[in-house]
């Protein structure tokens, strides 16, 4: 019968049934398909992107039907990179593809919300104070009981709806009151990564800066800043676009899981293999990228530095000493500090210690030259005499350096080693830290020396060979016998014990890497990432990597060098963005703070450090940190002007200015006198005293408490005064800070107002006092760039902001206008005193010759603003005008121009252009100025004021630079001199940017971007002491830490520092494991982790990955509920058990937030924590160095990193019955 049924089809359908009844073909008559046709239809497609910190910068098509966003797919219209290369299309990832879910999701913040108990008290207070919002706010926050009532309710539900008017009025009142009572530097703003949406970043940053508030750094805070970059290159970070991976002949992925963290770019790696590129992966687990690699080196977590040092050992041995390689020799002589002379300090007993760079000041013939202490010296092969080549820091500033700041060696041939003419040698003591607990030891190795004047000197190269253990006949000391000598650093066999990577493999990869570089002239590349960059000692790990790429001549070469991708650091139109974001068009200087130190102090994490700062010192150090804690060093760095510190003084800066005026003396003089007398102190010397608390924190485009707040429970307890699961003990007497005041009771609830702007609920919004509903990335205009590709492209609204949401630009204008209304009565115009640290790329970098520490408080020198302490700048603030200034481009543009990385631009023409393009503001304090009212105006301003997007400025900047370098540069931008990228251009398609002095690479002629190609090809110096890439750092504190040269330092020993159990211990409480928080496949930090699509494709909630072996130790099976506990907090999650994980290490992928399926913890009886509940901040002293050459502060350029990798935890199976 069934056959008959089927046969009947032939007669009843308009289809063709095959003879064997096997198949049915049909033509025509397809009304039944309409459903799918309808579903595909749409009214319009709008270009936008995702303002998320992933570096993707992908352009998307957003589909709209009947006024509803339906979905998104990737744009494919990137300009071609050439006929013989793959293309950038399509760019995107599953996270981005799921974004439109947020638009209408139930986690969307649709209206303004205020913490109910606070709003109620505020309303009552307002009615008691004749409707004055400022008095009402004071009434609430200045009363301890009332303050505690709403602060202790943070994070416990109870948000209630408010109107925009009421919510922003209360916020504005809080700002006015705080500025009046405590000072503008008690107000802080946090929004990271301008590149991902520049206008949105600039919105609140502009407001914060104009009111004198403090913008918090992010790149160092995220631990994405590789401190080795300023140390080695004098640059924040500059890296190749992903298209340049294609140019590499050899690629090592080192702690960078490209398919997960560089999803839109990973194809370049996959495809370059087909061009014969060899690919190596170094990863502790079988990570997603290992699938692509020809070799997998599973180095144990945190030991990457040891592998790098051993590879350096092999390269120095085989390619420098045994067989000098002309390409490498020539490169390192010209572009690195290897030939520069270093003075050896006599320790007595026939041993020496590497000291300071020899400078012109040490040479009788140059002693009186301008900036002589900043002109370094090499030995010339031809004359065998010391010479002072062009291009060092001393040439960068001053009259005599004009035309001489370049890398032209002219007819000088610097000696790499002094061993060729002099066999005099001495023993130098070198540090080592390679015991399992990282304890400091040292060893002695010989270097060839010469006497110059009264100084005994050697070269950096000779010191490098000693450090790496590459012996040469005739030199005394302890040298490895061979590669197989496991006892001596840094042989391949030595590293095998540390990393677990076979010695032969380490040696062979090093050899292959160098051989490829030799043959291809520098096309060997290392892609490095958060896996190696988030450790406490990541700067030393990275210096080990950079030694490999620099020794082999790969930096500044297309297809070669470091490729560090952690954080979307490249805001290509940086100059224009910076003017808007920091209000530099109206007021200078802005306040910019290193966020790690800020929270280390203000969340009281410093109180839980039980160890002295000298725990980290080398045995070759001079005991500089003895008796002090990290907090003491932060205070010292601040008062010496090395690093910024806000709040700066223990007094309202307005009051300081008033006092000075009353005393009839300049503010700076008054402050210095007060500091000297001890009547005034730096706030960081007493962070727990109420006048020094941060009072307001505004967060937009960020999720501090769900994502980046290392030491999450410390934040909850001390900053917010909320419930926490903190279990750590405070430092006992004897282990406490010496200079920083200790209060017996640690404050809780320092912050008066936590304001957040977001489009979704996060851990930050649910702890906030006020939540303002933000427009999403499909509902506004903005700009987006990345380091991964060379294009600038746009956000555009697919729909208008729905419900009561507003764009960040709009929201902050609203707040600013309210603020100015209230300020007119309560603040008026006041004088502020801004303390500015010694800045990079300015003559400040010459404040401390030889990097010698001079602490005025210790009586080592006088406090001199701008030399031995911060500059003190009086700034007039007309608070009632802030609203007007927000909306217009200010007059300092024409008056002072713009300055980026030491190059100043005349932007008169751009201002005229913008006045015409955007229209002028009429009336008020900004009368006649170009409008910035709309987000589109801000976009145009950013594009017009940056060299990368305005060819006139790029050319002008290069011409300015040419005067200093004396080399040809402006032709690099000449091909685009007439090009002005407009916002409309970025709406039409991703638009390639213009080669500009704002960055170090050249895109001229359509080549792929690679950093430092301008330095290498045009002999433009790096922004360092020698003007070359540095292997050697001679600052006092670097010597103290034993880090003059690349060195291996193991992960911190948490057992020794904090009495955590030892790794591998199994006890009643579970197994002790290393606790890593790598990036998640299903989210970008905390973004998307709550997205239903991503949750459906993963395990649907917080998970911890562990090895089958560790799981077996504590009876955990896949998907079991587990608890991870250490002194910092408690996490509840489900276990993912897999054999791809190494034994002894668990992964809790980064920023899963606490909002999705997190039960109550057994341990704390509170809601389980997030990934950062088990971490905390630890500050490395060398990151606090400032005021010396490349080790000088710039915002997001240098500062202590918020690293979190060195942590351990105990993990166990918990009851499978969970409650919420």
């Amino acid at each position: 019968m069934s056959e008959a049924l089927v046969r009947s089809r032939r007669f009843f359908t308009r289809a063709e049934v095959s003879d064997d009844l096997r198949s049915l073909h049909r033509t025509g008559g397809r009304g039944a398909d309409d459903f799918y046709r309808d579903r595909w239809s749409h009214d319009k497609v709008v270009r936008s992107t995702h303002g998320v910190n992933c570096t993707g910068s992908c352009s998307w098509k957003v589909y709209v039907k009947d006024g509803i966003i339906t979905w998104e797919t990737q744009q494919t219209d990137y300009p071609s990179v050439g006929p013989d290369k793959p293309e950038y299309e399509p760019r995107g990832c599953p996270r981005g593809a799921a974004f439109s879910w947020y638009t209408y999701s139930p986690t969307r913040v649709r209206y303004p919300y205020v913490r109910g108990v606070l709003l109620q008290m505020y309303r009552e207070a307002k009615s008691q104070h004749d409707g004055d919002p400022v008095k009402a706010w004071a009434h609430v926050v200045d009363n301890p009981l009332r303050a505690k009532a709403y602060k202790s309710a943070r994070g416990k539900g109870g948000l209630v709806r408010a109107s925009w008017d009421e919510a922003t009025e209360m916020v504005a009142a809080a700002y006015v009151h705080t500025i009046r009572k405590w000072g503008p530097d008690r107000v802080a703003g946090f929004s990271p990564i301008p590149a991902m949406s520049m206008v949105s970043h600039a919105s609140g940053a502009r407001f914060t800066s104009l009111v004198g508030g403090t913008m918090l750094s992010f790149y160092d805070w995220y631990a994405d800043l590789p401190v080795a970059s300023p140390q080695v290159f004098g640059d924040q970070t500059d890296v190749p676009e992903s298209g340049d991976w294609w140019d590499a002949g050899y690629l090592i992925m080192w702690g960078s899981n490209l398919p997960v963290t560089r999803t839109p770019d990973a194809h370049w790696m996959a495809e370059a293999r087909y061009r014969g590129q060899k690919v190596v992966a170094v990863a502790p687990d079988y990570a997603d990228n290992v699938k692509f690699a020809d070799e997998w080196l599973p180095a144990r977590p945190g030991t990457d530095g040891a592998l790098a040092m051993a590879m350096g050992h092999v390269i120095l041995r085989e390619f420098f000493v045994d067989r000098p390689t002309p390409y490498f020799t020539d490169y390192t002589k010209r572009y690195t500090d290897l030939p520069y002379l270093v003075v050896l300090d006599d320790l007595g007993g026939g041993t020496y210690r590497p000291g300071k760079f020899l400078t012109a000041a040490d040479l009788p013939t140059h002693r009186n030259a301008e900036n002589a202490h900043f002109k370094t010296v090499v030995m010339d092969t031809r004359t065998d005499e010391p010479v002072v080549p062009n291009g060092s820091l001393g040439h960068r500033f001053g009259e005599t350096g004009v035309g001489r700041w370049n890398l032209d060696l002219e007819d000088v041939d610097p000696k790499l080693s002094l061993a060729d003419t002099s066999w005099d040698s001495v023993l130098v003591r070198l540090p080592r830290f390679d015991t399992p607990d990282g304890a400091a030891q040292d060893l002695s190795r010989g270097v060839p020396v010469r006497r110059v004047g009264q100084h005994l000197v050697t070269t950096v190269y000779d010191l490098m060979l000693a450090q790496y253990g590459v012996g040469r006949p005739g030199l005394p000391g302890e040298w490895p016998a061979s590669y197989d000598d496991a006892a001596a650093p840094y042989t391949p066999a030595w590293q095998e014990q540390v990393t677990g990577v076979p010695a032969a493999a380490a040696a062979r990869i090093a050899r292959e890497f160098a051989r490829n570089a030799e043959e291809s002239r520098g096309r060997s590349m290392i892609v490095m990432g958060a896996g190696t960059n988030h450790w406490f000692h990541s700067d030393t790990i990275y210096r080990g990597f950079l030694a490999l790429t620099t020794l082999t001549g790969c930096q500044g070469v297309n297809g070669g060098g470091w490729a560090h991708y952690v954080g979307q650091e490249k805001c290509r139109p940086i100059t224009g963005w910076a003017q808007l974001a920091f209000g530099l068009d109206w007021t200078r200087p802005p306040r910019q703070m290193i966020q790690t130190a800020y929270w280390y102090l203000h969340t009281d994490q410093y109180r839980y450090d039980h160890f002295g700062a000298d725990t980290l010192s080398a045995r070759t150090g001079q005991g500089r940190f003895g008796g002090r804690t990290t907090a003491d060093l932060i205070a010292q760095s601040a008062r010496m002007g090395w690093m910024p510190s806000y709040p700066t003084f223990d007094r309202n800066p307005h009051d300081l200015a008033d006092e000075a005026a009353a005393a009839g003396r300049p503010v700076a003089e008054h402050v210095v006198a007060q500091l000297k007398s001890g009547d005034l102190r730096f706030a960081c010397e007493d962070p727990d005293s109420p006048e020094n608390f941060p009072r307001i924190l505004a967060i937009w485009r960020a999720n501090l408490l769900g994502s980046s707040a290392k030491g999450n429970e410390y934040f909850l307890k001390h900053l917010l005064g909320a419930d926490s699961s903190l279990r750590a003990s405070e430092a006992p007497e004897g282990s406490r800070p010496r200079d920083v005041t200790w209060h017996d009771e640690a404050p809780e609830g320092k912050l008066d107002l936590l304001l957040s702007l977001d489009f979704r609920q996060t851990s930050t919004t649910i702890f906030s006092d006020v939540v303002l509903p933000a427009a999403t990335w499909y509902e506004k205009h903005d700009l987006n760039t990345t380091d991964m590709h060379p294009f600038v492209h746009s956000f555009n609204p697919a729909i208008a902001p729905p419900w009561q949401t507003r764009t960040d630009w709009d929201a902050w204008q609203t707040i600013a206008t309210k603020f100015s209304e209230l300020a007119a009565e309560h603040l008026g115009t006041r004088t502020d005193v801004v303390a500015v640290p010694l800045l990079h790329d300015t003559p400040d970098a010459m404040a401390n010759p030889h990097g010698v520490v001079r602490d005025w408080k210790a009586g080592e020198c006088e406090p001199v603003p701008g030399v031995t302490m911060p500059k003190l700048v009086a700034v007039e603030r007309d608070y009632a005008a802030v609203g007007a200034k927000m909306q217009a481009l200010g007059p300092l543009m024409e008056k002072l121009g713009t300055t980026t990385k030491g190059v100043t631009y005349d932007v008169n023409a751009s201002v005229d252009y913008l006045r015409a393009k955007n229209g002028a503001v009429r009336g008020g304090p900004a009368d006649g100025r170009p409008s910035l009212k709309r987000d589109v105006h801000a976009c145009e301003a950013i594009l017009a004021l940056s060299g990368t997007t305005n060819g006139h400025l790029a050319t002008q900047g290069f011409k300015t630079l040419e005067k200093r370098t004396g080399t040809l540069l402006h032709d690099l931008a000449a091909e685009h001199e007439g090009k002005q990228i407009t916002f409309a251009d970025t709406q039409a398609a991703p638009t390639p940017v213009i080669t500009s002095p704002e960055w170090s690479g050249s895109e001229t002629g359509g080549r792929r971007y690679s950093p430092f190609t301008i330095n290498v090809e045009r002999l433009k110096p790096w922004h360092t002491l020698t003007g070359r890439q540095h292997f050697y750092l001679d600052h006092d504190w670097m010597a103290e830490l034993g880090e003059n040269l690349p060195v291996y330092r193991p992960p911190l020993n948490m057992g020794a520092l904090f009495a955590e159990p030892s790794l591998g211990d199994v006890g009643e409480l579970g197994v002790t494991v290393r606790y890593l928080t790598p990036h998640n496949k299903w989210s970008i930090h905390s973004e998307y982790q709550d997205n239903l699509f991503m949750l459906s494709l993963s395990r649907g909630g917080q998970t911890i990955w562990m090895s089958d072996k560790d799981a077996a130790k504590v009876g955990v099976e896949d998907n079991d509920w587990v608890e991870a506990v250490n002194r910092n907090g408690v996490v509840v999650a489900r276990a993912v058990v897999s054999h791809r994980m190494p034994e002894g290490t668990v992964y809790m992928h980064h920023a899963q937030d606490r909002l999705i399926d997190v039960p109550i913890a057994e341990t704390s009886k509170k809601r389980g924590g997030i990934h950062n509940s088990l971490t905390r901040l630890l500050v490395k002293p060398s990151h606090l160095i400032g005021g010396y050459a490349q080790l000088s502060f710039a915002f997001n350029y240098l500062g202590p990193t918020g690293n979190q990798r060195d942590e351990v935890t105990v993990i166990r199976k918990r009851s499978q019955e969970v409650t919420y």
């Binding site: 039944a32 459903f35 990832c93 990973a266 087909y274 061009r275 291809s520 399926d1157």
Partner: protein
């Protein structure tokens, strides 16, 4: 000869990064609606792993596809039409929701609406089927990246077939990704299983569709499809499946999954085949010969005789030209690097795969030999981290020879191109060793590595 045109796809697994963008864009466009919450027309599986729905490849259990009867004739593995009719009201071999997964959402609104309370508000998982609280215990991608491997990977039906004991040990870890859509088979068993005649193959391009008006929801297609790529919409009571994005294809756009593939690994193109020879090929006695048999059904679109026949069959000239330019034809028949997925199901699948070449030099490394040397690359093929037998069970019914040949070609391409990359004299013996000319090898490199938009689709 009866020339027909078929829209087909090749995925280069060697480039797949396992990102699942294809799954998400497909789901957003097609199955993001009530009744299809659990449905992923496109999914990506981590291998080794169970797949979605779990263990779907175990045809001894699920009885999908075709088999040969004692007389060597093709019959549905799930039984003939009589059996189908007998079980029409209680299909016994249907994957249950448990085999797919119970879809869920969260009570997100509580994050905003929670009153003042003791604990931080949290959104709990709620079943999208029952609306009740649930513990999440399985998903469409549960074993992503070998998650839960100890507990689940041993149930991988492909793994169970290979004789080598694959140890799940850290040092020997391997994995790769397998993105899957409907195969749009030349010999679709879903269509043959449908009692309502609702599943049809479009005559002009071979796309297999379910007629939504005609479908009666018997779900025999779900059982009949060995790839489990027909799904039941529990809201409408009809079967739904991947449509090869025909509304896009018809206006010259690639499928959503292809255009949004950031690994740039999907190719789409037309293939001409001889419809008269499908049955014969699908009835090839030895499973190992099915790959070659299916290739033999494809016609050379540049052969004047084929062009003539195509014209006679009413295939427009631009379609014939498209078939000539087709990257699918090039990858399957010219360079012979693409292989069918489970040819032993005898459905003549039309989504083919280039197997992954994943880390190849481990063993060579241990011998201390030069890992760059092309001869060593070849030697390493036998020592892939991914057991070649595993790939063969996926793509060639267990015959390792064709997989080996593909991997050798890929390895040879890398080796040949390395010389060019470094400016050395190219070595013609390398392509010759894998039966290719230098020009062919370079053209294959262009297609696989440069993979320009215009050449992928």
């Amino acid at each position: 000869m009866r020339v027909m045109a078929q829209m087909a796809m090749v995925m280069n697994l060697d480039k797949c990064i396992g990102c699942h963008t294809c799954s998400v864009t497909c789901k957003q466009a097609w199955t993001n609606r009530a009744g299809t919450e659990y449905v992923w027309f496109n999914n990506v599986e981590t291998r080794p792993g169970q797949g979605y729905p779990r263990t779907y490849e175990d045809q001894e259990r699920w009885k999908g596809g075709w088999e040969l009867n004692r007389r060597g004739r093709l019959k549905l593995k799930g039984g003939g039409r009589l059996k189908k009719l007998a079980t029409i009201f209680s299909n016994p071999i249907m994957p249950s929701l448990k085999d797919y997964y119970e879809p869920w959402t969260y009570d997100y609104a509580t994050l905003t609406d929670a009153p003042a309370q003791e604990h931080t508000p949290v959104a709990r998982p709620k079943s999208l089927i029952s609306g009740k609280d649930m513990k999440i215990e399985w998903s469409a991608n549960w074993d992503d990246n070998l998650g839960g491997s100890a507990a689940t990977a041993a149930n991988d039906p492909v793994l169970r077939k290979i004789s080598d004991t694959v140890k799940f040990e850290f040092e020997q870890t391997f994995m790769f990704y397998l993105p899957r859509i409907c195969e749009h088979c030349l010999n679709p068993s879903c269509a043959a299983s449908c009692p309502s005649g609702a599943i049809y193959k479009r005559a002009e391009d071979g796309i297999v569709l379910v007629d939504q008006d005609r479908c009666r929801g018997w779900r025999m297609c779900v059982s009949g499809c060995p790839y489990k790529k027909v799904y039941f919409n529990h809201r409408t009571g009809k079967a739904e499946k991947c449509t090869f994005c025909f509304p896009r294809i018809e206006v010259g756009l690639p499928t959503v999954c292809s255009e949004t593939c950031v690994g740039r690994l999907r190719y789409i193109g037309l293939v001409l085949y001889d419809a008269d020879r499908v049955l014969e090929a699908a009835s090839t006695p030895d499973d190992h010969d099915l790959y070659e048999a299916q290739r033999s059904v494809f016609l050379d679109p540049s052969d004047p005789a084929v062009v003539r026949e195509a014209e006679r069959a009413g295939i427009p000239r631009d379609w014939v030209e498209a078939a000539q330019r087709s990257p699918i034809h090039a990858l399957i028949n010219r360079y012979k690097v693409a292989l069918p997925l489970h040819p032993e199901y005898r459905t003549m699948p039309m989504v083919w795969y280039i197997p992954p070449l994943s880390p190849v030099v481990d063993v060579v490394r241990d011998t201390g030999e030069d890992a760059e040397d092309e001869r060593n690359l070849f030697a390493a093929i036998e020592a892939l981290r991914i057991p070649i037998e595993y790939l063969a069970e996926l793509f060639t019914a267990g015959d390792v020879a064709p997989v080996d040949a593909v991997l050798r070609r890929l390895a040879a391409m890398r080796s040949y191109m390395r010389d060019l990359n470094l400016g050395r004299e190219p070595d013609g013996s390398i392509p010759a060793a894998v039966g290719m000319s230098e020009e062919e090898m370079y053209d294959m490199y262009r297609l696989l590595a440069l993979a320009k938009y215009d050449e992928r689709y």
